[in-house]
Symmetry: C2
Subunit: 348 residues, 2 copies
């Protein structure tokens, strides 16, 4: 299996290296031949090549079985972008688009032992286990823009095909879980949300065994705080998915724990990354939580290598460590990135 590694910026390299070490260990004990290749990406690639997604990086990603990414961005690049420099984030969006990664899976559940790390009361957050399926190559992220300092315009376009394929991914996922799909939109205002709702209902006809409900995005932002445990799979458009999955990750304890898989057509390479950002304030201190990245490596094994056993063994090792009291700084503890790595490796 050939995996391209994109460390990126801030804490990206630290968490990526940690995840690769765990991936290597899991592959070794499952006799999976693993071949990794590191490439420049994001701000780091702007520094080196003036381009957040250099052609060689893109080519390597398209030719790999999977891509493991750390994080991109940082204040230095934000400042430079004001003067016309390219943005690290533009590299991420271009990569998602070029790889055709229309479905972004973001699972978040309350790990055993982490009840106290959640800002919510135990009685509210108990049993929360949600998979957010976020549409990733459409909507406001990819509509044509008009920049300007006196007026600006972003476009939010969606087509039937774009909604259909991500809806199918979500219904399939719900079928393999508790059988409830919550589709989130703003159909009382947006034309694209009305299209979204109609298409999701059409796709539902092929999944009569899955219960489907529609919830408005403002109400959903509320329900994730008041009743997170009543949901199973949530499907939504790109920006709503960005907002709601971050909120959800905080609800179950820390964004540092949340992995993601971005998938395209079957057989094409997937992209795996923790959902947290580059956290420039703690970069290089060796205290970043690597678990989101490690669990992303587990998703890589599941979705891009079909290695369910190896994937589940990483997930079980992480769950065991958390139940055993492993707490990085974001979880109110003092474990370092290295401590977390050692713990997961020995549990593995």
């Amino acid at each position: 299996m050939k995996v391209v590694i994109l460390p990126g910026d801030g804490i990206g390299p630290e968490v990526c290296e940690t995840a690769v070490t765990v991936l290597r260990a899991a592959c070794a004990s499952s006799n999976i031949a693993l071949d990794t290749e590191e490439h420049a990406f994001g701000g780091a690639a702007i520094d080196q090549y003036g381009d957040p997604l250099p052609p060689a990086t893109l080519e390597a990603c398209l030719g790999a079985d999977a891509v493991l990414l750390g994080a991109v961005g940082g204040p230095r690049y934000d400042e430079a972008a004001k003067k016309g420099a390219p943005r690290p984030e533009a590299g991420l969006l271009a990569l998602r688009r070029e790889m055709g990664l229309f479905a972004n899976l973001r699972p978040s559940r309350l790990f055993e032992g982490l009840e106290e790390a959640s800002p919510l009361r135990k009685s509210v957050v108990a049993d929360t286990d949600i998979l957010v399926v976020r549409e990733l190559t459409g909507g406001l992220y990819f509509g044509e823009r008009e920049e300007g300092s006196d007026r600006a315009l972003d476009r939010l376009p969606y087509s039937r095909e774009e909604v259909e394929r991500v809806a199918r991914t979500a219904f399939e996922a719900a079928r393999g879980r508790k059988g409830l799909l919550t589709s989130v939109d703003k159909a009382n205002v947006l034309a694209t949300s009305r299209l979204w709702r109609g298409v999701v209902e059409d796709v539902h006809k092929s999944y009569p065994d899955v219960r489907l409900e529609h919830v408005l995005v403002d109400a959903m932002a509320m329900h994730l705080v008041t009743h997170p445990s009543r949901f199973d799979v949530v499907v939504t458009e790109n920006l709503f998915g960005d907002i709601l999955s971050d909120e959800l990750s905080a609800v179950v304890g820390s964004i540092g724990l949340a992995p993601s898989a971005s998938l395209g057509e079957a057989g094409k390479p997937g992209l795996y990354e923790p959902i947290h950002g580059s956290a420039p304030d703690i970069a290089g201190l060796g205290i970043a939580n690597p678990i989101g990245a490690i669990l992303s490596a587990a998703m890589l094994l599941r979705h891009s290598a079909g290695e369910e056993t190896a994937a589940a063994s990483i997930e079980a090792a992480v769950a065991w460590c958390l139940a055993d009291g492993l707490r990085t700084h974001d979880l109110g503890g003092s474990a370092s990135t290295k401590d977390a790595l050692d713990a997961v490796l020995s549990a593995l």
Copy 2:
């Protein structure tokens, strides 16, 4: 003072009537002459006139000192809209636009005694007191749309003037509170967010005494759950404000408690409404929480009549009742709408 009452749909009429009774009592004890006039609006106006904002209603609103609104919408109207009927929500958007209500103030704080009603731990939610200033007449709500069943498009436009005026409202509000303004955008992706950020920074030059910070919307959805008490005033564009203010209302206990004031140019009438919806599931049962509507009436006295003392007396009465244990169903209690009214009236 001439106030137009728009009961609207679902629980709208119940909470509106309750709020008007409190408003009347507060006006009587402060010797404010109050003249009210009820008009058809939303789904109720569609039923009667086939139009969610009949011309007579709009004319009355434009000629009043203030407008008090219940709520609009419901599943019956959603169904009819699929077959081409007008939407109640379209009436609300048209009213906001016609009245020029560009600044929507949505305060949410943790009331004393309600620590247990919040889904968050007491230690996390304690001292939360946030004013969301939501831009209300621009963005995705008012961009031109292209409807379609195979493709659709919503437009998100913003102009410098639109951002400037709502930013000024927010800086003024922060100056009168703790002096911290958090501007929320998605500047790493959206052109309108980059415009937003630049204009807010320009306006900041006139308010050097206010601390300004920029937070991305996905991070903000997280911070409202993890550190709600560190914020003071939050300013953001229309749809982000819709999502974040609902989330916040849940954080401090219940959306049933949250009032709002929608303001335009100085001297023009304001619109006051609870931020909750029409809650068709409990409409007519007499159990809706009227406090969001009652506190909206208090905001009306403050912002449209300059009657700070009368406004504060309603707010103090509500706070007293909540501290005294008044709990409607949404707060886990069994008090009816009428019980809440009686309690507030006697506290007043």
